[in-house]
Amino acid sequence: MVFNTGAALLDAIVLAVVSREMEGTYGYKITQEVRQVIEVSESTLYPVLRRLQKDECLEVYDRECAGRNRRYYKVTERGRRQLSLYESEWRKYSAKITGIFEGGY
């Protein structure tokens, strides 16, 4: 990809991916889904998830799956607010860029 992804945008993408699952989702799946959209290395996402968790945008819980515990991530109320802020900022930002490309003023 030509364009780089900043921290805020990566946060937004991760929050969006996690928020799609009502029951929450787990690290491997999040990584795969994020990687369908942007090119990040597999090991990039753990620090992001951990930070979002510390910022109380994500909460974790363990769920039993095939005889072992798997850690699930779920978006908190605060995370949802953060995500909607990101979404509205993104709409504005992308509209401006598109406007410039398409020759508006």
Binding site: G6, S41, E42, P47, R50, R71
Partner: protein, 243 residues
Amino acid sequence: MNRLEFMRELEARLADIPESERREALQYYEDYLNDAGEEDEQEAMEELGTPEEIAQHIKAGLNGNEEGEFTENGYESGESTRRPPARQPYVSYGQTQGDDATVDREASKSAAGKMQGNGIGKILLIVLLVILFSPVILPFGAAVLGLILGAAGAVFGVWIGLLAVGIALLFAGLILLVCGFVKLFTLPLGGAVLLGIGLLMLGIGMILTILMLWLVWKLVPPLFRWIVTLCQKPFGKRKEGGR
């Protein structure tokens, strides 16, 4: 390297971070390999990168400076910056630039907050001021408007005048050419003079006319666009402020 070795090395490389953080990270990567590696554990580990790289990312995240960029070569960490753990854009790896970005972001955040808080109050204040000062503003505004219109009229008048001169010269030149041509047979000298003057007038007329038309062609569309932008400005601002 098999999975056990992989996890052991990761653990060793995380020896200098708090116990709880280490447990979290190891649990995450255990989970990850469990989910990814059902078919091919080896491939999953290779995709993850070396334990050293993973440990680096984890530590960078803990220090709040995972401020690299996600470039076309994947993630590039910027180890040079040290920052309080908060969410900030990883604008660059440069120290100063990164810090500027932080400041900018905070500033824009607080500005946005202020705008939201005072939006209605501000509008009311402006309306009130406009009403209060209308005896001053109205004549002044009218004067300014008059000045602008007057200037525009003057420019337009000069333009029309020059265009008219150009066209007149064109016609006069043409007529003189014809006359000179006719005279050439009866009075060669006078005819030649007439021809010369006619050609001169024709030339000047052409230059003037083309110049004037070119001016319109070049100036009017940008001018029009500028006026439209000027008219849109107040509305655009209000839309942004009052969300």
